[in-house]
């Protein structure tokens, strides 16, 4: 881009760096567009043509106690399409992390292109800002669209009972946490690139870090919103509907205690009545999330991820500033 190479003038056209950025990463842009379009096509097909027949087939099968012919092909095709779509959306942040780690900052620092650019009209701060802003816009747009459609695809076929709202494949892919995690992958890629300055090493580290954050979000997702407490009589065993975070027994004073070992299997619970009576256990309780907690849980996880992303971006600018010293004056904080 000629605008970028104009000597020493800080006032390059405002979108010049972004345009240069898009130009440089044209293959990635094409790949991203291709992935988004392919995923969209898959999910539109599933949403418009497969979900309803699959749900109808499943309901018919359930109505006849699994002993009648039904549209098996419709059910199985929808199931496959939903699974592939869920895998794709779930692993998208890792794909973005790999790209960001390998190419965003590390490659240019490794080859010296970045240092060359900084001696031209682009300050390091503006260079990094453009590196983050242009892809962040495109990634947010693309991922939001995919998540939205994934949610539609899942909701339309909900009566087919393929995967529940709290399934590990569905919970994340159905909401904005995926968008936030994609942005985290981007930011983490920029930071590891600045720290390691080696393309392949940064790729591996960024994927590992983003996977760890995604895994952690899933692991702790039940704690992002207060649970409901549901109790059940002794003969039923604890309630296991929705998404159960923890369960236990309730004593006659209302205290919550762990379930005695002998009653871990409910079928055996009647055999240990004496043990339950001795501890004055009268009911079971479950700390759980009903489906109505889905959005609060999702949005808290999203806010947490975005906060983490902000922190990483801040760190990236700090690291850059330290590397480049006073060169970053002007736009630097």
């Amino acid at each position: 881009m000629t605008a970028v190479t104009v000597a020493g003038t800080p006032a390059a056209p405002p979108f010049a760096t972004a345009r240069a950025m898009l130009r440089l990463h044209r293959p990635a842009l094409f790949l991203w567009t291709g992935v988004v379009l392919a995923a969209l096509a898959l999910m539109v097909w599933g949403y418009g043509w497969l979900a309803e027949p699959a749900a109808a087939a499943y309901q018919r099968l359930k109505a006849c106690d699994y002993a009648c012919s039904y549209d098996q092909d419709a059910y199985l095709t929808y199931k496959d399409v939903l699974r592939y779509a869920s895998y794709l959306v779930t692993f998208l942040p890792l794909l973005v992390a790999a790209w960001a780690g390998a190419t965003l900052t590390s490659r240019e620092l490794e080859s010296g292109t970045a240092q060359l650019a900084w001696t031209q009209s682009v300050t390091p701060t503006r260079w990094l800002a453009a590196k983050l802003l242009a892809p962040a816009t495109l990634l947010t747009a693309g991922t939001s669209l995919l998540v939205l459609l994934h949610h539609l695809l899942w909701a339309e076929g909900r009566r087919a009972d393929v995967l529940g709202w709290n399934d590990i494949l569905i919970f994340q892919a159905n909401g904005p946490t995926t968008v936030a995690l994609t942005l985290f992958g981007l930011a983490a890629g920029a930071l590891t690139g600045l720290l390691l300055r080696r393309s392949l090493a940064a790729l591996a580290v960024t994927v590992a870090v983003t996977a760890a954050v995604g895994f952690g979000l899933n692991w702790f997702r039940g704690y992002f919103w207060p649970t409901l407490t549901v109790t059940a009589p002794l003969k039923d065993g604890p309630w296991f509907g929705g998404s159960v975070v923890s369960y236990g027994a309730v004593t006659s004073t209302g205290a919550h205690v762990p379930v005695p070992d002998c009653a871990q299997y409910w079928s055996a619970a009647k055999d240990c009545r004496a043990q339950l009576d001795k501890q004055h256990i009268v009911r079971f309780y479950s700390e759980m999330h009903p489906y109505s907690h889905y959005w609060p849980l999702q949005l808290t996880a999203t806010a947490l991820t975005l906060a983490l992303t902000g922190l990483v971006v801040l760190l990236a600018f700090r690291v850059l500033e330290r590397h480049t010293g006073t060169v970053a004056k002007g736009t630097a904080v």
Binding site: P27, C64, D65, Y66, A67, C68, S69, Q72, L76, A98, A102, T103, R107, S199, L200, L203, P260, D261, C262, Q264, A268, D271, C272, Q275
Partner: protein
Amino acid sequence: MSALTARGTVARANDSGAFGGLPWTVLRLHRTALLLWGALLLAVVGTLIWMYAIGADARAGLSACATPATDTLPSCSDVEAINTDETYGIGIGLVDTALSYLTFPVAAWAGAALIGRELESGTAELAWTQSVTPVRWLTAKLAVPAALIATGTTLIVLLNVWARRDDNPDLVGDWYNPDVFLSTGPAAVAHVLAGLTLGALAGLVTRKALPAAGVAFAATLVLYNVVDWFRTSLWPTDTVTGRAALHLPRSSQVLEHGAVTTTGERIGNNLACVGYDNATDIKNCMARSGLSDFWATRHPESHFWPLQFMETGVLLAVAALSTAAAFRLLRRRTP
């Protein structure tokens, strides 16, 4: 390596053994990968030895019990208090998963670091002007990691089979579970070797580190899923009919359950009456649903080895083909 830069002589003074200094150079250049591989092997071997050691305790955690305890059966609360079975299941499961997915990082590494980077930077071309011919260069690049990977994964598979002891499916999963299947036989080794050669081919095709990593990963992903899809079709299935089809042993991998109605219609993927034990219940269920017969297609556990050998054969063929393609591409590129 100074040995490599010695001018034009094939035989060098400090060569060790019959292979010359080239394998040593490959190891030296990729020492980060070598260290990572060594660390992974150590971790896995350590885990498996630990799992073998707690294997007996883990089985005690699943044993039959009674409340209160009898002369022959321990008390249920004692059995429930044993948590070793969970640790054991998680440990073996982690090793299984790691081994099943090992082919992906191996392919990406082979494409990017082993081949792509050297072609991108010109190091390979420089090496070829020295004492190393392109063919020997690629041979060493493939043979050294292939040998290390094959020995390592074989060791893991053998130790895994040893640590799983009696293969109790409640603890370590059924033999036909994809992760279990891919970590208890020769197919595990073949998968990783296919990943390595596909990665190398991707490196030669793209001649750039990062695109090679992407292409290698994508190609292995496709291979993995295609093999997963056709896994059960690589050997003819058994068909069981009548009442036997209603309670197949757990060790059978059931592929399809079906029922025949009194009008002769065959309904596939149907679990009607499955699980009913005595003759009267089954008769009632059949009358209620208007059914006359049942069938099931399955792989009994005796199909494990034929299925393993077929899958290994297919994957080794893929590895051989991609190796041949890589050499052919290299020859065409270099005079």
